[in-house]
């Protein structure tokens, strides 16, 4: 127990000199302990909040109480990290960087686990989970907007690249959501076709299965040649942005990856509709189209939405790789950071997609649960 408490309280900060643009090499950071990183009163407050949360969480089983404790500890960690940034930043050196280190991240992980566990035990309904998601997003936005973290290196990296950040965010969303929309427009009718015409089903699923097994980097590579040819030879293609590298191959690759889950879930969902219900619909005199639109698709909707959820979460992650072939997105920061061994830049590229994927999963899970109501 003592060691765990130590690990949680070791909120060390890392002052580090980042002379980006002058020399690529970055000076190694120095680790600081909690009491060195904050003024005494602040350090005592953070430590007290963490210890209190830990001890009380071990003593109580009530989920709402544990959730509140987790939130308290998380707030102490977040504000403490921000305060450490302000406290440690030297006034005379604009290149100095303060970054939260392993103690902060471990503490963040532990409190997040505590809160997630409490949320699961609360057994929130879909609407409750959506509200929790909105509150979480609002709190994160408030923290970032308040300036409490403005002295931390992650925010400093963001400030230096704010306009690029939002441009890449836009590309990232366009890639992930656009390819999903395209896959839905093509994949849903394809799924309906495969459901209605048995002869089409297996060949289609096999082809898409093969595409699914191609690694993303390889698929980008494979697409460069044909798209390059299209850009060079099809009039107007270049003008609408089709190139061998850049957004187009990334978009096409994500679209191809999305087709299988879209189509397969549509087929599975439609096949899962009770035979008695389909027979009754025919016997009542619904035409083929009425049966599909009024009975089969509504009943298959939860499974189809589950396909959309898989695709969206998968695409938000995969779109990060698009930066490697000039497709843009948060991957731009990630790969820049990897090239320069700049951890903050890596985080700037990695954290937003993680948060987006998480939010998309929570949102769509709630929608799926709502759509499945009354279809038991």
């Amino acid at each position: 127990m003592t060691t765990l408490a130590d690990a949680e309280m070791g909120g060390t900060a890392t002052p580090r000199f980042d002379r980006l643009g002058v020399v690529i090499a970055i000076a190694a950071g120095t680790g600081l302990r909690l009491f060195d990183a904050l003024p005494t009163m602040g350090a005592v407050a953070v430590a007290a909040a963490l210890v209190a949360a830990l001890v009380a969480a071990m003593a109580s089983r009530r989920p709402l109480f544990r959730l509140a404790l987790g939130a308290l500890a998380l707030a102490a960690l977040a504000l403490g990290a921000g305060a450490a940034g302000a406290h440690l930043t030297p006034t005379d050196n604009p290149y100095a960087r303060i970054a939260p280190a392993s103690g902060f991240w471990l503490g963040l992980f532990a409190t997040a686990m505590l809160m997630t566990d409490a949320m699961v035990r609360l057994k929130l309904g879909p609407l409750g989970r959506l509200v929790a998601l909105v509150i979480t997003a609002a709190l994160v936005a408030a923290l970032l907007a308040s300036g409490a973290w403005s002295h931390l290196s992650l925010i400093a990296e963001y400030r230096n690249r704010a306009d690029v950040f939002w441009r890449e965010a836009e590309s990232h969303l366009l890639l992930a959501a656009g390819s999903l929309a395209a896959a839905a427009i093509i994949g849903l009718p394809l799924g309906v076709l495969a459901y209605q015409v048995r002869a089409v089903r297996d060949p289609l699923i096999n082809i898409l299965n093969i595409i699914q097994t191609i690694p993303s980097m390889a698929l980008f590579g494979i697409l460069i040649a044909p798209l390059g040819w299209v850009a060079a030879h099809v009039p107007g293609a270049h003008a609408i942005g089709i190139r061998g590298i850049g957004m187009a191959p990334a978009f096409v690759a994500l679209f191809l990856y999305s087709l299988l889950p879209m189509m397969a879930n549509t087929v599975v969902g439609l096949s899962g509709v009770s035979r008695a219900v389909v027979d009754a619909a025919r016997g009542m005199g619904l035409t083929g189209r009425q049966r599909l639109m009024q009975v089969e698709i509504p009943l298959a909707l939860p499974v189809i939405l589950a396909g959309i959820r898989i695709v969206l979460v998968q695409n938000i992650g995969l779109a990060t790789v698009a930066a490697l072939i000039g497709g843009g997105g948060f991957g731009v920061f990630l790969f820049q950071g990897l090239g320069q061994t700049a951890t903050d830049l890596i985080l700037l590229g990695a954290l937003p997609p993680v948060a987006l994927a998480f939010a998309a999963a929570v949102l769509l899970d709630a929608v799926i649960e709502i759509s499945a109501r009354g279809k038991a």
Binding site: A276, A280, G285, V295
Partner: protein, 312 residues
Amino acid sequence: MIELSHLTKVYGDVAVVHDVNMHVEAGTITVIVGTSGSGKSTLLRMVNRLVEPTKGRVLVEGRDVLKMPAHELRRSIGYAIQSHGLFPHWTVARNIATVPMLLGWDRKKVAARVEELMELFQLDHVQFADRYPHELSGGQQQRVGVARAMAAKPTLLLMDEPFGALDPIIRGKAQADLKAIQRRTGTTILLVTHDMDEAIHLGDRIAVMNGGDLKQYAPAADILARPADAFVDDLIGPADRPFHYLTLGTVRTAVEPGEADGAPLAADTSLYEGLGALLWSGRRTAPVVDASGAALGRVSLGGIADKAARPR
């Protein structure tokens, strides 16, 4: 009402239904009975073209069903199936309204019809209209299924094992209710079952199917008295035959003059129930009264036994 001539359905090289000729009288209940694989469901499903006949003709009210668009034909014929097939994402009211909505009835007329049907099938409108099927008991779901089939006032109702998923007590009640509702509305019913008891209880006429052939088509009493072949005989069950026979008549037909002790029997009680009442109360005779309670005479074990004997 229905005229089937030389009706045949072939899958591969197996004739599932083979050269069936049948005439169904309007306003009656006709039960098609047979074992599984006998072709009874296929025969029924050819009437509303859920199965397209390979050969032969189906006339419903004089019209050749093969010459009508299938969906229009089906909207004009009621259809109820085993395990009801209710649309799970629609409320009870919306389910019942299915065919009227397809036919484009105006909203008020649909709502009035739904309310009327729910009352007919003893489903409280306020309590059940906005519920979903999974919130109902099996017996309630089955009633909604039949109400839905009758929503657009079809003159013909096709039922494929409609009581198959119900437990015995609820099934008996559902059969009695269906019979009462049919007598009231005059709807022609063509019903498929594997249960000879159900066939005898419900059917004005019974059609026995075996191996795709129509073996016998006659009123229940004839089927019991003169089974066409060993298969029909088997299906009835020789030991049960006299008791089946007793379910067809009422004690009124066995009334003899005289008096008797103990609780009286209503004249409309079936002979079968009358026999049971006598045996269980240890009496040899019981008084019989009519609906107003006036004494009609008495009924005896011997009198009932005479009615169970094979007619000559």
